[in-house]
């Protein structure tokens, strides 16, 4: 039989590429955010904040086009699951962009020459690099519909979570100096934001499994961590 609905299929493929392309924007934003943290670069932080409009714009553009496809093409089966998943992923992309903004808004608060703890800075940079890997892996897993690769995001995210806990330990041991304590608390918020970006990447992995299997299950249930998820 001849292939039908070619334009619709091409539009759906274009929207998937564009939606997942949002993850590249996030990867770039997180890279700049880490550089701004490392260098205490307030100007670079402002650029990241301004650039978040591009991520939001991508969200709005693809979201609207997917709603139009739902309204006009009545997608079902795999197409319906894909569109549902993309709507989720877009929300994840938008939230990850916002977390980068949250971090960048903290950078001016720490001052030009903050009483930084080098070990804690390095931990946060390591968290960020690992999280960028997660984002890339979630994108690839989605593109390839690779459930094993998607499930592996949980293991990769555990690395981020462990680094976050180490950060917390360092903040507790930062000493009594009020300026250093304030800096450490601010950096803990930054670490928390990065950790949330990692969680969003895992959420994307769960959507990969949904597209492939038609069943949605959380890879790990945060409210029941000791049960099989």
């Amino acid at each position: 039989m001849a292939e039908a609905r070619v334009e619709y299929q091409e539009e759906l493929e274009r929207l998937e590429a564009s939606g997942l392309g949002g993850l590249e924007l996030v990867t770039a934003a997180l890279g700049r955010t880490l550089e701004a943290v490392e260098q205490q670069d307030v100007e670079l932080a402002q650029i990241v904040i301004a650039d978040d409009d591009r991520i939001d714009g991508r969200y709005l553009e693809v979201h609207q086009a997917l709603i139009t496809l739902l309204a006009t093409q009545s997608p079902v089966a795999t197409d319906l699951r894909l569109i549902s998943a993309l709507l989720h992923v877009l929300k994840n992309v938008e939230r990850m962009g916002d977390q980068c903004v949250n971090i960048c808004k903290m950078i001016p608060l720490t001052g030009n020459d903050p009483p930084a703890d080098e070990e804690m800075v390095q931990l946060i940079l390591a968290m960020g690099r690992q999280t960028r890997t997660l984002i890339s892996q979630s994108k690839r897993a989605f593109e390839e519909r690779n459930v094993d690769m998607a499930r592996d995001l949980v293991r990769q995210d555990d690395v981020v979570d462990n680094l976050n806990r180490e950060c917390f330990g360092l903040a507790l041991a930062i000493g009594d100096d009020p300026d250093r304590r304030e800096w450490a608390m601010t950096m803990l918020l930054a670490a928390r934001a990065i950790e949330r970006i990692g969680d969003n990447a895992v959420d994307i992995g769960e959507q990969v499994a949904f597209v492939v299997t038609g069943l949605f299950r959380e890879f790990e249930d945060a409210s029941h961590p000791n049960e099989d998820g």
């Binding site: 039989m1 292939e3 609905r5 009545s74 079902v76 089966a77 795999t78 699951r81």
Partner: protein
């Protein structure tokens, strides 16, 4: 012209009224059993093969059509779904040269068993057709009552009045036609005519309602009215509906069966049957996926 339950007048008159052989002696009379005594029945087809002369239209279909559910039969033109539907009340055999192999049971009773009266089968298994087909010379009232008299029953006027009103109410048509029951049925709108045909079909209190693209000639408003009606009727009947409208199958049915044929000239086969929600979100077969998503035409 088909009668309300699919029987021709000639057949109804020439065939001595009798219940299917496997029905118990105390089986319901041709007139309607009281509503509270009737219940929807299960239809089962087992290794069903349907032929038009040498041409095999349907091959190896095994399926259970469950009571109090709407089962949608979908598939491209020529895949055998309408032929299959027509075999469920023995209308297939009305086509010259047509024959049936295999077994179809209504609550376990073989409807093709020797001695079973096809007219009686069609009373138990009613049919609504693609185009609304009220008897053109009959009034609204006479159209609804036609099945009652075609089945040979004699009935008091008051009893007939009550059945006509109940059937028209059941088909959501009463309020629109109660003041013109003596006017020709053909004067109604398309949607009203189709509801009139549904009223005619349910007047004889069948256990099963078969519908062959009942909305294909109707506008969207009339279509939705019929779909709402189907949703209500399933509480009392077993319903099977052939439709080419994917959204209608998704909206109106509980179970969807997908028929397909490998290539033109080959017989149609049942590819997949399952809950409608599953068929339209995660079908098991690639052929089903391709069809419901319109990827191949």
């Amino acid at each position: 012209m088909q009668g309300a339950a699919g029987a021709t007048r000639a057949e109804a008159e020439s065939t001595e009224q009798q219940m299917p052989a496997s029905q118990p002696a105390a089986a319901p009379a041709p007139t309607s059993p009281p509503a509270d005594e009737r219940r929807a029945k299960t239809i089962e087809a087992c290794d069903l093969n349907l032929f038009y002369g040498d041409f095999q239209a349907v091959e190896g279909v095994g399926v259970t059509i469950e009571p109090n559910k709407v089962t949608a039969l979908i598939g491209s033109s020529g895949c055998g779904k309408t032929t299959f539907l027509r075999s469920l009340n023995r209308m297939h055999e009305l086509t010259p040269g047509a024959r049936v192999e295999g077994r179809i049971t209504l609550d376990g009773h073989d409807i093709y068993a020797k001695g079973v009266d096809p007219v009686q089968v069609r009373r138990l298994v009613g049919m609504v057709f693609q185009s609304p087909n009220p008897f053109p010379t009959m009034s609204v009232y006479e159209n609804v009552a036609a099945g009652l008299t075609l089945n040979g029953g004699r009935m008091k006027k008051a009893e007939k009045d009550e059945i006509v009103e109940r059937s028209l109410r059941g088909a959501h048509l009463w309020n629109e036609v109660k003041d013109r029951l003596d006017k020709p049925g053909s004067g109604l709108s398309g949607g009203q005519q189709q509801r009139l045909c549904i009223a005619r079909a349910i007047a004889v209190e069948p256990e099963v309602l078969l519908m062959d693209e009942p909305c294909s000639a109707l506008d969207p408003v009339a279509t939705l009215a019929i779909e709402d009606l189907i949703g209500e009727l399933k509480s009392r009947y077993t319903i099977a509906i052939v439709t080419h409208n994917m959204q209608q199958a998704a909206r109106a049915s509980d179970v969807t069966a997908f028929f397909n044929l490998e290539e033109t000239g080959k017989p149609g086969r049942l590819v997949e049957i399952g809950p409608t929600e599953t068929i339209f979100t995660s079908p098991k077969e690639q052929a089903t996926e391709d069809y419901v998503s319109g990827r191949f035409g």
